[in-house]
Symmetry: C7
Subunit: 256 residues, 7 copies
Amino acid sequence: MARRYDSSTTTFSPEGRLHQVEYAIEAINNAGTCVGILASDGIVMASERRITSGLLAPAKTSEKTYQLCGHASCNVAGLTADANILIDQARLRAGRYAYQYQEPIPIEQLVEYVCNYKQFYTQRGGLRPFGVAFLFAGYDEQYGFQLYQSDPSGNYSGWKATVIGANNQAGKSLLKTEYKTGEEKIPNIQEALMLAVKVLNKTMDGTTAAAAAEKMELYTMTRNETGECVHHILNQEEASKVIDAVEAEAASAGDS
Amino acid sequence: MARRYDSSTTTFSPEGRLHQVEYAIEAINNAGTCVGILASDGIVMASERRITSGLLAPAKTSEKTYQLCGHASCNVAGLTADANILIDQARLRAGRYAYQYQEPIPIEQLVEYVCNYKQFYTQRGGLRPFGVAFLFAGYDEQYGFQLYQSDPSGNYSGWKATVIGANNQAGKSLLKTEYKTGEEKIPNIQEALMLAVKVLNKTMDGTTAAAAAEKMELYTMTRNETGECVHHILNQEEASKVIDAVEAEAASAGDS
Amino acid sequence: MARRYDSSTTTFSPEGRLHQVEYAIEAINNAGTCVGILASDGIVMASERRITSGLLAPAKTSEKTYQLCGHASCNVAGLTADANILIDQARLRAGRYAYQYQEPIPIEQLVEYVCNYKQFYTQRGGLRPFGVAFLFAGYDEQYGFQLYQSDPSGNYSGWKATVIGANNQAGKSLLKTEYKTGEEKIPNIQEALMLAVKVLNKTMDGTTAAAAAEKMELYTMTRNETGECVHHILNQEEASKVIDAVEAEAASAGDS
Amino acid sequence: MARRYDSSTTTFSPEGRLHQVEYAIEAINNAGTCVGILASDGIVMASERRITSGLLAPAKTSEKTYQLCGHASCNVAGLTADANILIDQARLRAGRYAYQYQEPIPIEQLVEYVCNYKQFYTQRGGLRPFGVAFLFAGYDEQYGFQLYQSDPSGNYSGWKATVIGANNQAGKSLLKTEYKTGEEKIPNIQEALMLAVKVLNKTMDGTTAAAAAEKMELYTMTRNETGECVHHILNQEEASKVIDAVEAEAASAGDS
Amino acid sequence: MARRYDSSTTTFSPEGRLHQVEYAIEAINNAGTCVGILASDGIVMASERRITSGLLAPAKTSEKTYQLCGHASCNVAGLTADANILIDQARLRAGRYAYQYQEPIPIEQLVEYVCNYKQFYTQRGGLRPFGVAFLFAGYDEQYGFQLYQSDPSGNYSGWKATVIGANNQAGKSLLKTEYKTGEEKIPNIQEALMLAVKVLNKTMDGTTAAAAAEKMELYTMTRNETGECVHHILNQEEASKVIDAVEAEAASAGDS
Amino acid sequence: MARRYDSSTTTFSPEGRLHQVEYAIEAINNAGTCVGILASDGIVMASERRITSGLLAPAKTSEKTYQLCGHASCNVAGLTADANILIDQARLRAGRYAYQYQEPIPIEQLVEYVCNYKQFYTQRGGLRPFGVAFLFAGYDEQYGFQLYQSDPSGNYSGWKATVIGANNQAGKSLLKTEYKTGEEKIPNIQEALMLAVKVLNKTMDGTTAAAAAEKMELYTMTRNETGECVHHILNQEEASKVIDAVEAEAASAGDS
Amino acid sequence: MARRYDSSTTTFSPEGRLHQVEYAIEAINNAGTCVGILASDGIVMASERRITSGLLAPAKTSEKTYQLCGHASCNVAGLTADANILIDQARLRAGRYAYQYQEPIPIEQLVEYVCNYKQFYTQRGGLRPFGVAFLFAGYDEQYGFQLYQSDPSGNYSGWKATVIGANNQAGKSLLKTEYKTGEEKIPNIQEALMLAVKVLNKTMDGTTAAAAAEKMELYTMTRNETGECVHHILNQEEASKVIDAVEAEAASAGDS
C-alpha cells in the first residue's frame, strides 16, 4: 500500500520522503562511476566508460565529460539524454552571463542555476526529475578551483574530493583515507590522477589493467601560464601511463 | 482506506487535515535542528551541520545560514534544493522593495511574502508543498530585531526564542526554562550563543564536545556603531570557545 | 465506497453534498473560537489565542484580528496561511474601491468579494477550498456597524452576535439567552465585551482566570467624535479588568 | 460498480444520464422551498427562510430574493455561494444589454444567458455544476409578466405557477388544484399571495402560524401607474396579515 | 472489466467503439420523438411534448422547434440545455455567413458546421459529447427543401423522412411503408402532416386523441409567393384538425 | 491486468504496442469496404454503401468519396464525423498551397500533411486517435496518377491497388491474383472498374446483383483532353452496367 | 504490482528505470533491421523492407531511408508515423542552420537536435516517447563521414558500424568479428555493402536469395569529385549483384 506514494513526483510520503527523487537517485547509483579530486594546481575528474566497443566511433566529444564554458566542465552519471538538456542550459547561462556582465560566471552561480532547474522538475505534476548527477569542475577569480556535486533533487555541495555513480560509497571511503585534507599536503595533478585511478579500480571491480585504459576517461583542468583554463582529456597512451604507475605503486606496496 | 486523502495536496481529509502539508512537516522534523534566540543586542541562530566530512570544501557560502538582504538572514531546515528557490524569491523581493521605495523592506513583510509563496503550493493540484522550514532573523527601524519561524504550510509566527528541525520539542522545552522572558533579564549575544549551544547539545545527542564545533554553525546578527547590520558566522575557533564555555559551566554546575 | 466522492473538490456526492467543503469546515471547528457581538456604539470581537508561550514575540500585528481598511476588520478561525491570502485580497479590493470611487467600500460588498473568491475554490478541479472562516466587523454610512460571518463554501450572513470555531454551538446558545435583541436593550461596548468573555469562558473550558487574559484577544471597533473608526485590541491590563468583572459578576450571581 | 460514472461531471452513464447534474439537483431538493405564481397584475414569489435566529442581523438584502435589474428578480434554492456568482453574471448581463441597446433586456434572454452559463459547468472536466435552482420573475414589453424556473443542468421553462426546493412535488400538486389557469380567473396579487402561503404551509410542515411570518419571505412584483416595476418584500406585519387571512379561510372552510 | 473503457470520452474500446458517444445516443433514445418529412411543397416536423402541465406558461418560443435563420429550423431531441449551446452556434454561423457573403448559408454547410462542433467534444479529454440529436429543415437555392438528421457523434445524413428520439425504429418502419418515395407521389404538406401524426401516434403509445393535440408540436416550413420561407407552428385548433383527420381516416380504414 | 495499457492513448504496452491506435484500426475493420485501383488512364475507387434506405435523400455530396482539390479525392472508411475534420484540413492545405505557390500541391505532400495531423492525436494525452482510414487518389505532374492508403496511426503507403475496411484481407488477396502488375498489362479504367466490383462482391458477401448497384459507389478519376482531372461518381445506370458486365463474365467463366 | 510504474511516462520505477522508454525500445526491437557501416570512402546503410507486395506502388521516396539535407540521411526503425515528425524537424533544423550561418549544419549538432526533441517526450506527462530509432549518416568538413545511432530515450552515440531493429544483437556480434576496426583495413564502399548484406542475411533468417533483393534496401553515401555528397539507393539490379556476390563468397568459403 505504501507504494502508492511512489507514483507521483509531486507528493510526500507519510515519512516526508519524495520517492520519485529517490528512484531517480537509484538510477544514478547504477550508472558509471565518476571521481572528482581537487588538486593543488587544478582539478581531476575520472569516470568509467561503460559501453566500450571497437565499433564505436572515436569520440568527437567525450561521452562523460562536457565543457560548459571556458572555465567550467562537468562529468555526468545517469541518463545521457537528460544530461544533454541540462548541459545546454548551463552553456546558455554561462554564455549569457559572460555577454551581459563581460566576465566569466562565478562557478557556484552556474551550479546553482542548473540545480534550480532540476528542482523545478521535482515539485510539479506531469514532470519527472532529471535522472542525472553531475560533478562540476571550475575556476573563478574569487575562489580558485572548485569542485561541486549535484543530484536529481537539485541539491549541490562543494567538495575537495568526491565520487558519484555506482559504488560511490566504496569510492568515498577510499578517498577519506587517501586524500590528505591538510592544506600543506594537498595532492598535485599527477597525484590526484593516480588517486582517481585507484578509486575507479576499486569501484569498477574485475577490470584488468589492460582494459582499464579504455574503460577510464581521465580529465584534468589546469591553468596555463597566461591564466587560461586548460581542459584536457588524457588519450589512451597518457591514461595507460597513469594506470601503470598506480599498478607499479600497488605492486611495490605489496612487496614491502 | 483513509490513506487515500494523503495522495493529493489539494484535498482535505474528513478530519479537516491537509496530509501533504503534514508530511512535508515530517520531512523537516528529520532535518538538522536550528535554534534562534533574540538577544538584547542582536539575534543568534545556531544550526546542526548534518553532513560533515573532511572532504567537503571549505564552505564559500554557508549551507544552513543565508543572508537575504542587508538586514535579514535565514536558517534552513529541510530540503536545501527547495530552500534555494524560496531564498531566491526572498532576495528578489527585498531587492525590489529597496529599489522601489528606497528603504529596506520591513522584516515581517519579507517573511509574509515568502510564506504566501509557500501557501500557493499547498492549495493547487500538480504541486507539492515546499519541504522546508525557516528561521528568519532581521532588523528594521520600527520593531528592531525580530525572529520569525515558518513552516511548509505558509504559517509564520514571531518568537523570542524557538527551535525547528529534529527534536525541536526537546529544544523548545529547554528554552522555556532557560530563556528569561522578563524585559530586564533578556540575554546578550554571548549568553544567547551559549544558550543556543546548550539547546543543540540536547537535540544532537551523542556528540562529543570535540566534534561539536565542526557540527554546529553559530551565527550572530548585530549592529555596528554606524547602525549597519553585521552578519557573522563564527569560525571553528570562535565556536569552540563558546562550546567550551558551555561545557565549563555545565561542569561547574555539576560540581556545585 | 461512498468515500470516493470525498476526494475531489469538484464533485457532488449522491446526496448532493460537497464533501471537501464540509471537511474544510471541519478544520475550522477545531480552530480557536471567535465571538463577534454588535453593540449599540460599536462592535466587539473576541478570540481564543491557542498558542501561548512566553517565548512568543510580543505580537506586532495580531494573530487573530486583522484590519482590512479604515472601516473594517476581521477575525480568523482556521488556517492562518490561507487567511493571509484572502486578507490580502480584501485589503486590495478595499483600497482599489476607495481609489476608484473616492469613498469607503460598503461592508457587504467587501464581504461578498472575499466570499466569491472563496467560492471559486470550491468549484474547480486542482484547487482545494480555503480552510478558513471569518468574522467581519465594519461600519459604513448606509447601515452603520455590521457583523458578518463567512465559511469555506463562500456563504456569508449578517449577525447581531455569533460564534465561529471550536464549540461554536455552545457559544451560540449562550448568546441566544444572554444577548438582548430588542432594540432598546442592545448592549453597549462594555457589556458586549463582558458577554464575549463569558462566551469564550464557556467554549475554552478549563482555563483559569489568570491564564485567560493571555489566552483571549479582545477587540473593539468604535467611532470617535470626528466619526472615524477606532480599532482597538485590549492590552493585558484592560483585558484582565474585563475578565475580572465577569468573574465578579458570576460570583455575585452565585451569591444571590 | 455503476457508481464510478458518478465521479466525473463530464461523462454519461451507460443509461445516458449525467449523475453529477442529478446530484446537484438532489442538493436543491433539500433546500428551502420557493413558490412562484403569475398573477393578473404582477408576480408573487414566496420562499422558506431556513435559518432563523434572533441573532441574525435584520437583512439588508434578502437572503432568498435578489433583484437582477429594474424589471427582473429571482428566488434562490440551493447553495447561496454558487447563486451569488450567477446573480452577478445576470446583473452584469442585464446592465450591459441596457447600456448597449438602451432598452431593458428581454426576460427570456436574461434567463437563457444564466442557463447557458450553467450548462458550461456540466460539460467540462475540472468543474462541478452549480448547485442552485432559480425562479426568475420579470416583466418586459413584449410578453408582460413572466415566470421562469431553471435547474443546475441549465434547463429552463416558463410557468404560470411552480415550486422548487424541498417538497416541490407536494407544492406543485397543490398548485395544480388551486391555481385557476383559465384566462378569466387568473388570481390577482392578493389571491396569489394567499395561494403561495398555502403552498408553503404544506411544504414546511409543522410550523405554527406564529412562527410562519418569520420563516416565510413573501415578495411581489407589480407595476405602478408610471409603468415601472415595483419590487416589494413584505415586512413582518404585512406577511402576518396574509398568513392570518389564509388561516381564517382554512378555519371557515373547516366550519362549513 | 470491460466497463472501464466507458469512463472516458477520448478512448476507443478494444472493439473500436466510443462508449461515451453511444451513451449520449442512449440519452436521446429516451427523449421525446421527432419526425421529419420532406413534402412536395415544404417540410413537416412533428415532435412529442413530454412535459405538459396546465401551469406551464404559453410557450413564447417553442420547446422543441427552433428557427436558426430565415431559411432553416431544427427540432431537438435530448438535453435542451446542450441544444441551446449548439443552436446559438448555428444562428451565429448563419448570421455571419449572410453578413460576409450577402447570401443565405447553404443548408448542408450550416449542418456540417454544427456537426463538426459536436465532433470536437467526442475527441478531447475533459469534455463530454453533446447529449442532443437534431432534425434540420431548410431551403436553399441549389437543392430546395432539405431535411437532415445529426447525432451526438457529429455524424449527419440527408433524409426524405426520418425519426429521432424514443421509439425511432418503430417510427422509421412506419415511414418506410407509408412514405412514397417515387418522385410523382411525394406527399404535399397536408399529407405529410397527417403522416407525421400517424408516426407520433405510434411512438407515443397510449395517448388519447384529446390529449394528443396538446402533446404534439406540428411545424411546417413552406415558401410564400414571394419565395420567402414561412415557418409555422400549428396552434391547438389547427393541430386538432389534423389529428382528427388522421383518426377519421383510421376509422374509415377500419370500416372498410 | 495487461488491459490497463489500453486505456490511455499516450502509453506503450510492455510489448511496445499502442493499443488505442490498434483499437481505432479495429473500428475501421468494421467499416464499409473501399477498393482503390490504379488504372493506365486514371484511378478507380469503389466503396460499399452501408446505410441504404429509400428514405435517404438523394446524396448531394457523396457519403464515401470526397474531392479534396482539383486533382485529388479520397475514400473514407470509419467514423464519418472524424473524417470530416481531416477532409477540411486537407482541403485547406491544398487551397493554401495553391494560393502560395500558384501550382497544385503534390499528392504525397497532401497525404503526409493529413497523416502528420493524425499522428499528433496518437502521442498526446487527452486526445484519441482519429477513427478513420483513407484511400487518396490524385494526380500530379511529377508522378502522374497515385493511390495512397493511410490508417489512424498516421502511417501511409503508396499502392497500385489496395483495399481498406471490412474484409480487406480477402479483398487484397483477390487483387493480388487479378491485378496484373506488369507495366504492359496495367488495366484501363473500364477493367479496373470491373475488378473493383469483383472485389466488393467478395467482401460484401450475400448481396444480390440487383441490390449491388445501390450499395456500391463507383468513382473514377481521369484526365480530359485539356489535361484537367475529371472526378466522376457513376450513377445507378452506369454502375449497374459495370456490375452486369462482371456478372456476365463470371457466368461465362462458369460456362467454360 | 510493480507494473503500475509502467503506465506513465513521467515516473521512475523504484529501480530507477523509465518503463515507457523501455517499452518504446521494445517496439523498435520488433521493427525491420537497419545496418550502418562506415566505409573508407563513404557510408553504407542497409535495411530490411518488411512489407513487400507486388501491389505496392514503386516507391517515390524510400520507406526506410530519408535524406535530411544535402549532407545527411537517416534510416528508420520503428513507427513510421512517428519518424515523419522527427524527420520534418531535422530537415527544418538543417535548412534553418544553412540559412542562418550559410554553411551546412555539423552532423552531430543535427543529431543532438533530434535527440533533445525526443528527450522532451520522455519527461513530461500527457506525452509518450517517440517509438522510433534512427541511424544517421552524414558528412561534414570537420569530422568527415559519421554514423550515429539514436533510440527513443534521446540517447545517441557515434559508431563505425552498428545495427538497430530486430535481432540487432546477432547483427552486432557479426559486425564485431567481420568489421576491421584498424585504420588501415577499413572497408571501402563495396566491401561495406557486402558486409551489410551479410548482416541482414543473418538477422532476416529464412529469406532466399531471390527474395532478398526485394526485401533489402541498400543505400550508399559517397562524395563525388566536386566534393558533393551523393545519396544513392541501389536499384533491384544493383542490389542483386551485391547479394549474389555475398552468396558466391559464402559458397566459395563453404568450398574451401
